[in-house]
Amino acid sequence: MPDRELRFRVFRHNPFDPESTPRMVQFQLTETPRMTLFTALTRIREELEPSLQFDIVCRAAVCGSCAILVNGKPRLACRTRIETLPNDITLMPLPFFKLVADLSVDTGQWFRDMGTRVQSWINAREPFDPNAEEARMSNETAAEIYELDRCIECGCCVAACGAAQMNPEYLGAAGMLRIARFLADPRDGRPEAAVFDVVSTEEGIFGCIGLAACEDYCPKDLPLTSRLAYLRRKTALLALRKSSQVEESTVADGYA
């Protein structure tokens, strides 16, 4: 239904400007056919308020930079169609992450830190031999790794998570999914104790209280609750084993 008069209430604040105070600012736009939130924000910036800051890069739900709170729910601006929204639209930056300005937050820093904490790289079993033939992998394994690698690091899962709001150190569904991704990878040979130490903490799987908002608001429909449940079961089973067995296992076999 084009031609609607849309009223946007947009959060504005620049934490780097000592004069700036957090406030909500109103903008009016007329709806156009097949309008997305990306189009709307761009028009606001071009026609009404050139200083408005927000992040848009790929506009195809690939880069994960455009996540904002749309009427309180984390969504990607580039794939949110205006026709699915009411006339009054409130836009806020994602909570949990560091505010850059207006609708722009710094997810990159957080994801980089998360990547370091969960060791988001292959812990090779053997030194890499560039001349050797690549090890083979079954189709199912490859598909599983590919599925878990689809995360675009937009931060919607963490912004939607009640546990994360109360625990800023929590690794979030994105962090747990990343660990599950490397556990699924036969090339990875990280010691069991290293996985257990990261996962079996309040910042890891035991920070999760099963609210499932991560899955409900994941714009890529990643299988978050099932992988979180998998990590919880495996970690709990490992906890019941003798600690020396966990310490001695050189590969994360208990998670296999």
Binding site: S200, P223, A229, A236
Partner: protein, 231 residues
């Protein structure tokens, strides 16, 4: 680069050291954390089983006061009730402590949660908040219930009927409703947390299940009320 070796093509090979997790002085050991999380779920599941059994026993009132009195007499004669009650009380206390660990304790965290609830309005997050509030209410009501019943043994249909008719109806109606809903949301969360159950299907199954338990619970309550009013 430190520790790097160069291969024949001149590429630097670096093996990154495997790091152990950061640990601050006041975090619990991983093993303990895991056990606490398992215990919360198991104590909840055990209490749910107990509640279903408890409801099963109470259903005998639907067949008349005699049946219930006989059953209660049997449980007491062989000390099944006396042996079981302390166990249930301990289980309840354990469940309260384990759940309290997951509840935001500082005012700042509670405020953060309230803001989040109001902003995102995510249904499953709301049911979690409901678990906290209903849990607190249930702790109070269950304590009263246990005290009143266990200090006035033996259990007899007439006595319970009078109690509900004369004094405690206002307490038992919210008791039944809160127990059933707290149980449903708890079992639901348990299924999601440990088994990642497909949530849409779980909603339907648990909805029917709760409706059933609720109507049975209310039927029992009405029967007791009748017994009391007939005396």
């Amino acid at each position: 680069m430190d520790g790097g070796e160069t291969d024949e093509k001149g590429l630097v090979m670096v093996t990154l050291p495997v790091q152990r997790a950061r640990r601050t002085a006041f975090t619990l050991p991983p093993r303990v954390l895991a056990l606490l999380d398992i215990s919360l779920s198991i104590s909840g599941a055990a209490l749910s089983l107990f509640m279903i059994m408890h409801l099963g026993l109470l259903l005998t009132i639907l067949f008349g006061e005699g049946t219930l009195d006989e059953l209660a007499g049997f449980l007491e004669r062989y000390y099944l009730l006396q042996a079981g009650a302390p166990f249930v009380v301990l289980l309840l206390i354990a469940h309260v402590f384990l759940a309290a660990r997951r509840t935001p304790s500082s005012f700042q965290r509670q405020w953060t949660l309230i803001q989040h609830l109001g902003r995102t309005r995510h249904p499953d997050t709301w049911t979690w908040a409901f678990q906290i509030l209903s849990g607190v209410a249930l702790l109070a009501i269950a304590s009263i219930h246990l005290w009143v019943v266990l200090t006035d043994l033996p259990i007899e249909a007439d006595k319970s009927g009078l109690r509900i008719f004369r004094e405690y109806l206002w307490l038992y109606i919210p008791f039944v409703v809160l127990v059933e809903s707290h149980m449903t949301f708890g079992v639901y969360r348990l299924a999601v947390k440990w088994f990642g159950t497909a949530r849409g299907k779980t909603h339907v199954v648990l909805g029917i299940w709760t409706a059933l338990l609720l109507s049975l619970g209310i039927a029992v309550l009405i029967s007791f009320y009748r017994v009391g009013s007939d005396l």
